[in-house]
């Protein structure tokens, strides 16, 4: 093992210092019947061999850099500033742990504090935690917060919420006394106000919407929070935070909690993780927030300092009475998002949203004009939209894949009723030539 440093001589000497004759004396508590299991693993590889293996396995993948990809559906291909990558690679950030010792962790703590500050700005809410695992788990914990805060039993969930989020919420609540109920969507893929009004009753702890929703639509949530609040329930919003630079933020819609996935803020797609769960609430819910919080305070010499705070909420203090069980979070991903948002800055965070909207709008109008494809013109979109193919989608996909194009995510596997429909996503990574090439390829189908 290249990562060990004790030499045989040292081992002998140290065993001597410990006062045992053999290593086995140190593990005498382990029943002999358990010891020395037969473990069938390949032999150790040296670093050149590991590098060669990884390269070989890499070549077995066709990445979105090899192909022209229009996949989205919760994981987005975006430009990441080189400076953000270097910052995240700093060994002192990468190989530290949770800042339990604030004196030895002011770097991590200040960065988290800045992340929290940026997320409150972006979502238009008051208090952000230091990160959650991902969008799905963050939303599931938001549901729990709503259930516990209101002491009600039911969560209403829009069916236009990302199917993985919906499934995760159900998994979290299955086998508990809590219930989850769906809210349907209309022909355009938007949520249904009447249905909401009908279902809002005393049992409802919270309502969860996504905007832009899973179909890419920007939801019009005018008047929704008033109705939900009038019912004594909480409004929980999720959505791609990159869209908040251009479209109304959860705070502006009147949400109590914004919880969701922050991958588009400077994280690579990486086959699905690690991503970044964001969790931001109103002031009123501050002490209900799950996870770490970095706070500002003074040190013993009156100097400004940062530390973890409100730890009394957490498992390591409160154990079974903790609001959440989260311990390790996604700190490095939050740092990446912090660096990303700082690098884009006030103007950039709006521009990037505009450019995404522009690319998708262009692509949408181009595809609209194709004979064999239909696009609903009604919804306002961000960077993703629904396309209906007149031919079987599997055939379309096969044809485009052969040309090095990933055409989009099939909707049928998530919504059996949406036959031959697929989600197409276009971000700032696509040039006009890329989009035209895609349209041309579709036209040939």
């Amino acid at each position: 093992m290249p990562y060990l440093s004790l030499t045989e001589e040292e081992k002998k000497a140290m065993l001597g210092s410990v006062g045992v004759r053999s290593f086995d004396e140190l593990i005498s508590d382990i029943p002999v019947s358990l010891r020395d299991p037969k473990i069938d693993l390949p032999s150790s590889l040296s670093e050149p061999e590991v590098q060669a293996l990884i390269s070989k396995l890499g070549r077995k993948n066709t990445s979105t850099k090899d192909a022209l990809s229009f996949l989205g559906a919760g994981s987005y291909e975006h430009f990441i500033p080189a400076a953000a990558i270097e910052i995240v690679g700093r060994q002192e950030f990468l190989t530290a742990y949770t800042p339990y010792q604030p004196e030895a962790s002011q770097g991590t703590l200040q960065a988290i504090y800045e992340y929290q500050s940026l997320m409150t700005e972006l979502t238009g809410l008051d208090v952000s935690n230091a990160s959650h695992y991902d969008g799905a788990t963050s939303l599931a914990e938001a549901a729990l917060v709503a259930l516990k805060t209101t002491d009600c039993a039911k969560i209403l969930v829009a069916r236009s919420l990302h199917p993985h989020y919906r499934e995760t919420i159900r998994t979290y609540l299955a086998g508990t006394p809590y219930k989850v109920e769906d809210l349907g969507f209309d022909a355009h893929g938007n949520f249904n106000l009447e249905e909401l009004v009908k279902k809002l009753d005393a049992s409802v702890a919270g309502v969860i919407f996504q905007t832009p929703n899973f179909f890419g639509n920007i939801e019009n949530l005018e008047g929704v929070s008033e109705r939900i609040h009038a019912n004594g329930s909480l409004m929980i919003l999720t959505g791609d935070p990159l869209s908040f630079g251009l479209f109304k933020s959860p705070g502006e819609w009147g949400a109590d909690i914004a919880a969701g996935e922050g991958q588009s803020l400077g994280l690579s797609m990486s086959f699905g993780g690690p991503y970044l769960g964001y969790f931001v609430t109103s002031q009123a819910l501050m002490r209900r927030i799950p996870g770490r919080l970095a706070g500002l305070t003074q040190d013993a010499d009156g100097k400004r300092a940062f530390c973890l705070t409100l730890q009394a909420r957490e498992q390591h203090i409160r154990r079974e009475r903790a609001g959440s069980n989260i311990c390790s979070n996604q700190a490095l991903c939050a740092l990446a998002a912090c660096a990303y948002m700082t690098l884009l800055g006030k103007k950039g965070i709006r521009e990037i949203a505009e450019i995404n909207w522009d690319r998708a709008s262009y692509l949408k109008s181009q595809i609209s004009s194709l004979k064999n494809f239909e696009v609903d013109p009604t919804p306002t979109i961000f960077n993703e939209f629904r396309v209906k193919s007149k031919k079987p989608f599997a055939r379309i996909e096969e044809k485009l894949m052969a040309q090095g194009i990933f055409p989009g995510v099939s909707l049928e596997s998530f919504y059996p009723e949406l036959k031959d429909q697929f989600l197409v996503c276009a971000t700032e990574t696509k040039s006009k030539e890329d989009l035209d090439r895609f349209v041309e390829a579709l036209a040939q189908c």
């Binding site: 590991v50 993948n61 530290a96 960065a111 988290i112 740092l335």
Partner: protein, 499 residues
């Protein structure tokens, strides 16, 4: 001055009109957001974002990083966290574009290399732990525990019988154990530790009945002791129909030496960010794969990777599955690192790791035992706990010794945990540290003991060499300032009061 004293926030360094990253100017659609998006959907203002130049942003964050202790710069013997070296080749692997640029919903055919890694990682975890199948979805240890509790519930539910409402945890257990069980609605019952620090068998027996859903155990426990009676414990719990959950945070000393699966555990999580050497990232991301014995496989969250004639693919989800616990496939980037580590480790490496981890801990314990009280007797596994209660007379607490260690260039051990030991200092050197480093740490500890005897104030007010000294956490919690906007509000308030 090696580290910048300009510790203002990015927000405070901002100036209107500055800009770092520029974006493409060209627009393709001819549409205008202000005209073509309904006004009611548009964001009104976004005033709070900072405006800085790229050179200043880079300097800002690089200087921040320099204020951290980390494994790559400091000895970091934080007990229960296994702060071992994070191999650079793992980082290299995870950063390859052939993995970072993969979309989670790509077709199986276009991700064969990736799927193979997930498959082989699972195979390795199975072998090492003695379990039969793993889900890689959970994002961390606590997430694994939660997943485990769901599996426990689903399993019992599928079998009918009495409702099992109790989860047993030792009083020395990690906080996430009771929290995970409680979060999922279980009634948590604490089992006492015996005089040696292990599970008190008598107390355990008293709580064993048909309402026990499961016992959660970390073994070695948080005192660094292997549960001598482990086989009896698992037998007892099984006899009353309960399941056994293994908190794998402390698996490092067992690599190649013993397997939780062989001990009788039904469910286990493994922290890839501990035993499998992936970096802790200032708090995460981690990864907490959950492994189970055969009888629990149908309940695992899906999808799982399977090997077919065509290569690797996603198995269709079992009807009994509890359902997914996370978006997509888990923290894949962390898994790639763990995979590279597994390949480096190989068959031969396992025992070398665990033996060195155990030897390092025992060596330190032995060298410190004359100066400090060790909470347990006999050899320890990969970590051990000191009790600093005797220093209370000088008014010095475990936390103070931790702070003073920072001045000596060492990260503090875990302090005031486990709670069963008064004034606990929990030390885990890990296997990747050299003996010289241990010796320097031991010398520092002895020096501090001397300081406590001669000048306790020095220790109580430490540290002296770091950017800040003892941030006031009472103040922080009383009047939480959690964002720059909170700061501005505070300032405004103060100004109003002054006026």
């Amino acid at each position: 001055m090696l580290i910048s004293q300009d510790d203002r926030l990015s927000f405070e360094k901002s100036k209107p009109g500055r800009r770092a990253v520029r974006l493409p100017k060209a627009r393709f659609s001819g549409a205008d957001p202000l005209k073509d998006i309904p006004k009611g959907l548009l964001r009104q203002t976004l005033i709070g974002f900072p405006e800085m130049s790229e050179p200043d942003i880079v300097r800002h964050f690089i200087n921040l990083s320099r204020k951290n202790f980390s494994v790559d710069t400091h000895f970091y013997p934080l007990g229960s966290c296994t702060m071992k070296y994070n191999p650079k080749v793992n980082e290299w692997a995870a950063r390859q574009e052939k993995f970072t640029a993969l979309h989670p919903l790509q077709t199986e055919a276009t991700a064969q290399g990736m799927l193979q890694i997930l498959w082989e990682l699972e195979e390795g975890l199975k072998e090492i732990s003695g379990m039969d199948r793993f889900t890689l979805q959970p994002a961390a240890g606590a997430h694994g525990e939660l997943t485990g509790m769901m599996l426990v519930r689903a399993y019992h539910a599928s079998r009918g019988g009495p409702t099992r409402t109790k989860v047993l945890v030792p009083d020395s257990s990690h906080g996430t154990n009771p929290a995970s069980a409680a979060l999922f609605g279980y009634h948590v019952v604490e089992i006492k530790s015996n005089a040696q620090g292990g599970v008190d068998l008598e107390d355990l027996k008293q709580h064993l009945d048909e309402h026990v859903a499961c016992l959660m155990l970390t073994n070695p426990n948080t005192l660094g002791l292997f549960e001598k009676n482990i086989l009896e414990i698992t037998k007892l719990v099984h006899q009353c129909g309960g399941l056994l959950y293994y908190d794998g945070a402390n698996l490092n000393p067992l690599l190649g030496i013993a397997r939780p699966g062989d001990m009788g555990f039904d469910i286990i999580h493994i922290n890839l960010h501990k035993t499998f050497s992936t970096p802790h990232g200032g708090g995460g991301p981690g990864s907490g794969p959950v492994g189970v014995k055969k009888h629990l496989i149908p309940f695992l969250p899906g999808p799982l990777v399977e090997q077919t004639k065509k290569g690797y693919g996603w198995a269709s989800q079992s009807a009994k599955s509890i359902g997914r616990v996370k978006l997509f496939h888990g923290n894949v980037g962390v898994m790639i690192r763990a995979f590279a580590y597994l390949k480096t480790l190989g068959k031969e490496g396992l025992r070398k790791v665990s033996e060195a981890a155990i030897l390092n801990a025992n060596y330190m314990k032995e060298m410190l035992k004359d100066t400090f009280k060790v909470a347990t007797s006999g050899p320890c596994m990969h970590e051990f706990v000191l009790s600093l209660k005797s220093f209370s007379t000088q008014g010095v607490h475990a936390g103070d010794v931790g702070k003073r260690l920072l001045d000596y260039g060492f990260h503090a051990p875990t302090v005031h945990f486990p709670m069963v030991v008064p004034e606990a200092l929990m030390i885990e050197p890990t296997e990747t540290e050299a003996r010289e480093t241990l010796d320097l740490f031991i010398a520092a500890m002895k020096e501090i003991a001397l300081e406590i005897a001669t000048d306790p104030e020095k220790v109580k007010n430490a540290p002296y060499t770091l950017p800040v000294r003892r941030p006031n956490d009472v103040l922080a919690a009383r009047k939480p300032i959690l964002s720059y906007r909170d700061q501005l509000r505070e300032k405004l308030l103060a100004a109003e009061i002054a006026a």
